[in-house]
């Protein structure tokens, strides 16, 4: 049973389409990369799938934990927010968008637990420390705010904050861009192992084909708001069929 089924999805800004006619499904444990240049519509697509933007056309169906398929655009705001609290995560490109910068690391990781009704300080703190360790942040930093963290640490904190409530589906928007190459590799490795340990379904948007290769099973290539090629990630990158994909792949090799 899939966890997500996107069919013919489109979002229009005025009379221009941000993304259009996108169809795919995602199964538990699968990592799907959406690649393309900036302006290709990949972030719009991510926002439309995750209901941060309203679909102009098409549907997104999500299979909840109990196995019932939900048509996301007909859910109430309250229901969508419940899904964000309990079953979904979103890792932003800018950590400022995904963290409370004036709240301690422990508070940032603990907030989703409190939002879900956990009212025991000791247990919240224990869980926060456990997750800081999993994302390789020293426990001595638990009471420090993210403003005192490096870029890589902030992204790891964002991941901990997202995964602490054991979501089933995580959206990631360029989680590694803006980091040094060595920091990127470490973060990707962490994401890769957490995703496989927890059996998460992930949709990751990236302009970096190396990121797609390292952590995704399948890849969608976007251009001008449309999916122009899709398939197994290694197939798309090693034997690209569409002219634009060949261009993307060859640009990387030359770089």
């Amino acid at each position: 049973m899939p966890i997500l089924e996107v069919s013919n999805l489109g979002h229009r800004y005025g009379d221009r389409y941000g993304c259009r006619e996108v169809t795919f499904d995602l199964w538990p444990g699968e990592v799907l990369a959406i690649v393309g240049e900036s302006g290709s519509g990949k972030s719009t697509l991510l926002k439309t799938i995750s209901q941060r933007l309203n679909p102009t056309e098409g549907t997104v169906r999500y299979w909840a934990t109990d196995g019932t398929p939900l048509d996301l655009s007909s859910q109430t705001e309250g229901e969508i927010r419940r899904l964000w609290r309990t079953e979904w995560g979103f890792v932003h490109q800018n950590s400022e968008d995904g963290l409370r910068m004036r709240v301690s690391a422990g508070g940032n990781v603990g907030e989703p637990l409190m939002a879900n009704g956990l009212r025991h300080y000791g247990k919240i703190r224990e869980k926060a420390l456990e997750w800081l360790e999993r994302v390789e942040i020293p426990s001595s930093r638990v009471d420090d705010p993210p403003t005192s963290f490096s870029g890589g640490m902030r992204q790891r904190l964002q991941i901990a904050r997202n995964l602490v409530v054991s979501p089933r589906l995580v959206f990631m928007d360029e989680p590694t861009s803006g980091l040094d190459v060595s920091v990127q590799a470490r973060l990707l490795d962490l994401i890769r192992s957490l995703v496989s340990d927890l059996g998460l379904a992930v949709i990751i948007v990236t302009h970096d084909l190396a990121v797609a290769r390292m952590i995704s099973h399948r890849t969608l290539v976007m251009k001008d708001g449309r999916v122009i090629e899709s398939g197994l990630t290694d197939r798309v990158l090693d034997d690209p069929q569409a002219p634009y994909t060949q261009l993307l792949v060859s640009s990387i090799l030359q770089g």
Binding site: E77, R81, V103, S104, E111, H120, Y121, D143
Partner: protein, 289 residues
């Protein structure tokens, strides 16, 4: 200089505005703890000095009312005296410092030590009505959080306190859940007074003039102060008795007596303290006679 004498409407504010504010108050009473927006007016007082409370009092006050005004716990601080005089002048109502005599009590901060009774109305001057504001600057978002009963964020603040200080450090404006539903700031009441709100026989009305919000706790409503299972809410407690009247279990103010760190602790509720002191003196006289 000859100036024309102005005839003020009773309570200073015009009747149409009073109607508007009364309607808002009724809505606030109907949805305990919910912040109802209102068209806050200008009153002869700077914003932030109690304009919300003044507008509520002005809309409530009638000929038969007896008004008490306190700032901190005291009837005789500048703001309390000014507001009391103001309402006496514009509505000719009787004023008092005696909690038991008052029908309307406007306060900035304290709830009187003398237990409130049915029929009494407390009016609070509120500077910051939104308890979530500190962590969530967007009004659209805080409204959503209230609407959807998502109050995890408030606990983040309490978590931060415990992480930093080992206990919940908030000693005033301590957040409460009203009637099991809405998160509310009893702004800026000391946490010492929070337990007095729970199942209080009086009506509590909160007015934020600058922020244009009115909210209420009707009589006999559940008011629960937030806390964790392992760090429950604990109101402030004072170990010493009042240096004047000897009362214990009351809220005390510190009065610095010299430059060497000497201090006295006395009741913040001046009316309560005076009554206790008078009682004490009477008893003392009784013994000596």
């Amino acid at each position: 200089m000859n100036s024309a004498k102005i005839e003020y409407n009773i309570g200073y504010i015009d009747e149409q505005t009073k109607r508007m504010i009364r309607r808002v108050m009724l809505k606030a009473v109907a949805i305990p703890g919910f912040q109802v927006p209102f068209a806050s007016r200008e009153v002869p007082l700077p914003r932030g000095w109690g304009t919300g409370g003044v507008q509520l009092t002005a809309s409530l006050i009638g000929k038969s009312d007896v008004l008490k005004v306190i700032d901190q716990g005291s009837d005789d601080t500048t703001n309390a005296v000014s507001i009391r005089k103001f309402f006496h002048r514009v509505s000719s109502v009787e004023t008092t410092t005696d909690t038991t005599q008052a029908t309307l009590i406007q306060t900035r901060h304290r709830i009187p030590e003398t237990p409130l009774q049915e029929g009494q109305i407390m009016v609070y001057q509120v500077p910051l009505p939104e308890p979530l504001r500190f962590l969530e600057p967007r009004e659209t978002e805080t409204r959503q959080l209230h609407a959807l009963n998502e109050y995890g964020l408030m606990y983040v603040k309490l978590y931060e306190d415990i992480a930093k200080y080992g206990h919940i450090a908030k000693t005033y404006d301590y957040p409460v859940i009203v009637n099991g539903r809405y998160l509310m700031a009893p702004s800026p009441t000391p946490s010492f007074d929070n337990p007095k709100l729970h199942q209080s026989p009086a009506l509590h009305l909160y007015g934020a003039g600058r922020e244009k919000r009115i909210y209420a706790i009707p009589p006999y409503t559940d008011v629960e102060s937030l806390g964790f299972e392992d760090y429950p809410f604990e109101p402030q407690a004072f170990e010493e008795p009042c240096a004047i009247c000897g009362s214990t279990g009351v809220y005390l103010d510190q009065i610095i007596t010299d430059d060497k760190g000497g201090a006295l602790y006395v009741c913040s509720d001046s009316d309560y303290c005076a009554n206790k002191f008078a009682q004490l003196s009477k008893e003392g006289e009784g013994v000596s006679e």
